[in-house]
């Protein structure tokens, strides 16, 4: 299953670059195999609330997912992003990620947010 979970990233550019490169390698391999993939990010990072390093990774992945989804739409594979918050049930997050990675049922290029912390905030 092609699920990319963001690892610990600080504000060092080398860490940011390495993490995005790791996502790129997973994404390229999945695309070459014509398989769907999913990125899992923290919702706070989409809004830049936990520092620039984490923010650059999370929003970079969201944009990459939207672009890859355009490519996958022609071939039948999907790309989505699951965002969780501190109160999200890890099993629920995992269940959604696995579902989207294996049988997205036509959902692609979407941001699926687990938990209510995004309500009333900017749309990423």
């Amino acid at each position: 299953m092609n699920i990319f979970r963001v690892q610990h990233v600080g504000d060092d550019w080398g860490e940011v670059h390495a993490e995005l490169h790791r996502a790129f390698e997973m994404s390229r391999s999945a695309a070459q195999a014509e398989e769907s993939f999913v990125y899992v990010v923290h919702h706070d990072d989409l809004l830049g609330r936990r520092g620039p390093g984490k923010a650059m990774v999370a929003t970079g992945l969201l944009s990459a997912a939207r672009t890859a989804a355009l490519e996958g739409a022609r071939k039948g594979w999907s790309v989505n992003v699951v965002a969780y918050d501190d109160d999200s049930d890890p099993e629920t997050v995992e269940r959604w990620a696995e579902k989207l990675a294996t049988d997205a049922a036509g959902i692609t290029g979407e941001l699926i947010r687990i938990g209510p912390s995004h309500l009333g905030k900017a749309l990423p």
Partner: protein, 232 residues
Amino acid sequence: MNGCIVVTGAARGIGRAIATRLAANPSFTVIGVDLSADLADVDDIVPVQVDLTKAEGVEMVKLAVIEAGVPLLGLVNNAGITRDSRLVNMTDEDFDAVLDVNLGAAYHLSTALADLIAENGAIVNIASRAYLGNFGQFNYSMSKGGVVGLTRALALSLAPHVRVNAVAPGLIGTEMAMAIPEEVLEKMVAAIPLDRMGTPAEVANVVWFLLTPLSSYVTGHVVVVGGGRSLS
């Protein structure tokens, strides 16, 4: 208030339009940064020819700001490149190069200059409408999405002293756009509700708004300058 503004990628296209728009105001000293030497011919811009992916390049810009001897009022992170291909064919080299220039340089320079920016100053990051997704631009789209995240994080960390916003241009009539095959360009323009490409000057107008007190209560936002393309 007199002061200086740093504009990266200022030698041509959108960056040049921003730099010349700002330089037309006698209150501003514009420091134009680019890898190219073309800036040397532009009147009223202090040229700094450096590679912003290198630490010494960032230091040279910082030195130029200090040598200007006036407050730093703003920074426009505009430098960017493209290396387009479908994800399945994208090379590590093309991925890394786009990420380092479009996102890494903006991050390094913002970090280096943040403490020098005057009270009520502003940073404007040039993202791209491609942050919403654009076929064949996995690396570019990721880098510009990262710029949006950087914008939001800096907007929070530098508030209330410095505002940080982003501009996301769509199809703009630059050299880069003119290199697109004519029949492809026609199809792209046909998908734009305003039925034309934008001009670099139209992007510069929005940057002006976000840099100056006209937008004094706006921070952490992305303004799409795309002729309505995101709706069609």
